[in-house]
């Protein structure tokens, strides 16, 4: 099962059928293998990756969905990945994520920054700062 593109239109990743938009740049990782493969690829590139940690029933996560879509359309040199914490709890533990939503900014496998909570401006500013 390879990585799939997500519509990011709903805060859930119940099944592949819930994701269908071909123009979304937000990649949803549903399994540990998907995440590991993505991480392996990412480490080879000098490209900023924003990881969105979310769950199905998190209100503020939902409010950030259109924001993330907007940012992913605007910053096409940045990769966006979505991880549902209920699907991949191990990844959450690995990065010490507790508050949702949280956004991790990484390059070459290294964590550069973190945004905790639905803070649109802070996220945008940090993307601008780290994308070059």
């Amino acid at each position: 099962m390879g990585p799939r593109n997500s519509t990011h239109g709903t805060p859930t990743t119940k099944s592949p059928t819930n994701e269908g938009s071909s123009n979304s740049r937000i990649r949803a990782c549903h399994t540990n293998d998907e995440w590991k493969n993505h991480f392996k690829e990412h480490k080879k590139k000098n490209k900023l990756v924003v990881i969105d940690f979310t769950t199905a029933w998190c209100g503020p996560c939902r409010s950030m969905e259109p924001v993330l879509k907007e940012l992913s359309d605007k910053y096409t040199d940045v990769e966006f990945v979505k991880i549902d914490m209920d699907e991949l709890p191990g990844v959450a533990a690995e990065y010490g994520i507790h508050v949702l939503p949280s956004f991790l900014l990484m390059k070459k496998g290294n964590q550069l920054d973190k945004v905790i909570g639905a803070r649109k401006d802070e996220l945008q500013n940090k993307i601008k700062k780290h994308r070059k």
Partner: protein, 149 residues
């Protein structure tokens, strides 16, 4: 954290959950399956009423985007179904059952009770940019705004 949780007392007594109602052993695999099940209508209604009452009691307001409110109410209902307690759905826990038993993040959580801080955006103080003007939400509104989830 433990000290704070046990020392604080909730003013919303009707939502205290007896400890025997909290399941203490659940496999991670089961958590994954249950997390994707629609919460029961009964729990959604309980949490809807609780949210309205607690907003009025605490002088807080729902988010201007009721979709946010609806998702959180359903998340609380989902945890009530799964764990026996309305554990905050806007956090990640290594052990949900243990957290529900401990009580710190059961809604209304300790930061909300003590400082009116709800990072889930369910209860917003009037000075919050996202605060609307309502302290009421209907079951219909919840259904409509979460229909595609």
């Amino acid at each position: 954290m433990t000290v704070q949780a046990s020392a604080s007392s909730s003013s919303f007594t009707s939502f205290r959950i007896p400890s025997f109602a909290v399941r203490t052993t659940r496999s991670p695999q089961r958590s994954v399956i249950l997390a994707q099940v629609e919460p029961s209508e009964k729990s959604v209604e309980i949490m809807r009423k609780f949210s309205e009452q607690y907003a009025r009691r605490s002088g807080t307001y729902f988010c201007v985007d009721k979709g946010v409110t609806s998702v959180v109410i359903k998340g609380l209902a989902d945890h009530k179904d799964q764990l026996g307690a309305p554990l905050c759905p806007c956090r990640h826990y290594d052990d949900k059952a243990a957290e529900a038993g401990q009580g710190f993040w059961n809604c209304p959580c300790v930061p909300m009770r003590e400082r009116k801080e709800c990072h889930c955006m369910l209860f917003l103080t009037p000075d919050n940019d996202f605060a609307g003007q309502e302290q009421a939400i209907t079951l219909e509104e919840i259904r409509e705004s979460t229909a595609n989830i």
